[in-house]
């Protein structure tokens, strides 16, 4: 990665109050995204993958506390920005796409106006120019009859079309970074492919960085340059896709990888990861995966494994990573 990092995050912590409990959703996450890079954040529900990204943008809902040592995006130091300044960055410098295109669009506002609003909020274009640009954007994301469709309401579109509108909205101000939070999960399989193809095309055309949050290894490994695996609010493994595919090192990654059914899996014995992903209600002091880990030793239950470099570009948070590789391989 010779590229200059676009986004660098160091020691991000997010916790929520839920009733009397405190949920430790993100527990010390550090990573960076280079210009033009596509990073996949993979994990199961509750792993903190979505909260991590939303924390950076000030978009976490509920009673959340975010602590971060450093989060540099281009020339900005995100934690030091006022809400007003962060508003200027959201949508202008960083675009976001959410999972559920059914609920993420305002049902009583014409879709064209919603796309235009993104530009007008940042004085990115004059109303006249924004209108024309909206039509261009709608065409670019593959919505036929843009002129007529501009005036339609979200409920008049299919799920896939709504996700295209979300994408048009997110890229309207030509952001350098696009965050896509499970952008295809709610869609039919054939439509998933269309959306991924669209994102891939946009990425190549506009040379923007993308962080895609997904639970789907298939999506992540085919779409991304680099993958971060999260478990219980921590990054447990980070590697370029080629390395990731060739030599996964964390037991959770390996377990998850073999949990995926692919065509041709028939007849193969299943090897599920036992147990359930935990809900973290106190700051982790040991490896959260240890109770489910076939390689766990006493040290894992006592000492928190830090993310360490295994080989250049490949980081893992496991005390026994080297042994795991040889055992699993």
């Amino acid at each position: 990665m010779a590229d200059q990092p676009l986004l660098t995050v160091e020691s991000l912590y997010t916790r929520f109050k839920r009733g009397t409990d405190t949920i430790y959703a993100v527990n010390g996450v550090s990573f960076s995204v280079s210009a033009g890079e596509v990073v996949g954040v993979v994990g199961e529900s509750g792993s903190g993958k979505s909260v991590t990204m939303m924390s950076l943008l000030g978009l976490v809902r509920g009673r959340a506390t975010v602590d971060v040592k450093r989060a540099t995006f281009k020339k900005w130091e995100l934690p030091r920005l006022t809400p007003r300044q962060l508003e200027d960055i959201r949508g202008r410098e960083i675009g976001v796409i959410f999972q559920d295109p059914m609920t993420s669009l305002n049902p009583v506002m014409r879709v064209g106006d919603q796309v235009m609003e993104a530009m007008l909020a940042h004085q990115y274009a004059t109303p006249r120019a924004a209108f024309n640009r909206t039509l261009d954007l709608l065409r670019e994301v593959g919505i036929p009859d843009a002129v007529q469709r501009f005036r339609n309401y979200p409920h008049e579109f299919s799920g896939g079309m709504r996700q295209r509108i979300m994408i048009a909205m997110a890229i309207a101000c030509e952001p350098d970074l696009l965050i896509a939070d499970e952008p295809t999960t709610a869609l039919d399989v054939t439509v998933q492919m269309q959306i991924l193809a669209l994102l891939q095309e946009l990425r190549e055309r506009r040379h923007m960085s993308i962080v895609i949050i997904t639970h789907d290894f298939g999506v992540a490994t085919n779409f991304c340059d680099r993958i971060l695996v999260m478990y219980a609010g921590r990054i447990v493994e980070s590697a370029a896709v080629a390395e990731f595919v060739a030599q996964p090192a964390h037991p959770y990654t390996i377990g998850l990888r073999s949990s995926i059914l692919e065509i041709g899996s028939r007849g193969r014995p299943l090897s599920p990861i036992p147990g359930l992903p935990p809900t973290v209600t106190e700051p982790p002091k040991n490896c959260s995966f240890a109770p489910r880990c076939p390689y766990a030793i006493d040290r894992c239950r006592e000492e928190l494994p830090e993310l360490r470099v295994l080989s250049p570009g490949h980081e893992v948070a496991c005390h026994r990573a080297e042994e795991v590789i040889s055992l699993a391989g």
């Binding site: 054939t190 269309q194 193809a197 298939g218 085919n222 595919v245 692919e262 065509i263 599920p272 992903p277």
Partner: protein, 322 residues
């Protein structure tokens, strides 16, 4: 295609719904059967009618036309009272276990109520059986006293399975039982379903939009598009020789993790989206999106044609090829 070994047979079954005075042909002339102790996988996208077929199969919905035959008995036109005793033998597992359980009933009560309805055993025997079932599906006995909102999705799906099993069914309709679950949990449930099938000699109608899951579990695969069967074959045959363009597209849509050294793939794109089932296209329903459609496809409805051992396809191009 009547089949004496079949536990359940669909014979030219159709189902129409009337939604705001418009008729929706949710299921159109569907025929297939589920052999005893086997699994038939039903694949399709939203609007393909796969869930409707599942409900028709166990008499939760009456068919508009055709026959649904369960163990030699046509259940299509049975009165609710006559159908009720049969319910013990055919059960269903839902996609969203949370929604299918009453929030006001503990897990134990929910499972027990199933036996209660059919007057099975004494209260003590039922309590015992609830505990056995919970253990069998991998839950601690203490879960009996929990309310549904206190359990996770995977745990609730186990409860749903235990409840279905409590009646000793012979046929279980699994309606997207793993779609809402986390990846690591999905495979636990799949394994559980597979183990239970062997143990209790169950027959499954397994509904899913995920071809890989269907391939893993099914003996026969039925591919649906807009309420019609477009391809149907034994599982090995289908995956060796998928013929219908839609089946092939579905197979391409499964993103597999590339092998080491293999480069990431481009995403193949099937144009358009599933048309509205209210106004299905003329001719072959798939022709509007088909990459290889010819003139004839928009005009003539293709016939279901046998192109291999038990391999049926509904496509003009396959007809001419065979």
């Amino acid at each position: 295609m009547p089949d004496s070994d079949a536990i359940l047979t669909f014979d030219r079954v159709s189902k129409d719904f009337v939604v705001r005075r418009r008729v929706l042909h949710a299921v159109n002339q569907v025929s297939f059967s589920i052999p005893v102790g086997k699994t038939v996988g039903l694949v399709g996208e939203s609007g393909s009618g796969k869930s409707t077929i599942g409900r028709l199969g166990i008499g939760l919905l009456p068919a508009t036309a055709g026959q649904v035959v369960f163990k030699g008995q046509d259940i299509t036109r049975l009165k609710p009272n006559a159908l009720r005793p049969l319910r013990q033998s055919m059960q269903i597992i839902f996609q969203d276990p949370q929604a299918s359980l009453s929030p006001r009933m503990t897990v134990g009560d929910a499972i027990e109520d199933a036996m209660n309805i059919h007057g099975m055993g004494t209260p003590q025997q039922r309590k015992r059986r609830v505990e056995e079932l919970l253990e069998r599906v991998g839950l601690p006995v203490s879960a009996a006293d929990a309310y549904p909102f206190e359990l996770s999705g995977g745990q609730l799906q186990r409860v749903g399975i235990a409840r279905a099993l409590s009646l000793n069914p012979e046929l279980v309709v699994c309606d997207e039982p793993v779609s809402a679950l986390d990846v690591s949990i999905q495979i636990q449930i799949i394994q559980l379903l597979q183990d239970l099938q062997r143990e209790y000699h169950l027959s499954y109608l397994f509904i899913s939009h995920n071809l890989a899951v269907v391939e893993y579990l099914s003996d026969v695969v039925v591919v649906l598009y807009l309420g019609q069967i477009v391809e149907q074959a034994p599982v090995e045959e289908l995956f060796r020789r998928a013929t219908h363009p839609y089946t092939r597209v579905l197979m391409d849509s499964i993103l597999r993790v590339p092998q080491p050294g293999e480069s990431a793939r481009r995403f193949t794109v099937l144009k358009g989206e599933v048309p509205s089932p209210f106004s299905p296209p003329s001719g072959c329903p798939f022709h509007t999106r088909c990459p290889v459609a010819i003139d004839r496809c928009s005009k003539e409805v293709p016939e279901l044609t046998l192109i291999g051992p038990d391999h049926w396809v509904k496509c003009h191009l396959a007809e001419s090829a065979s």
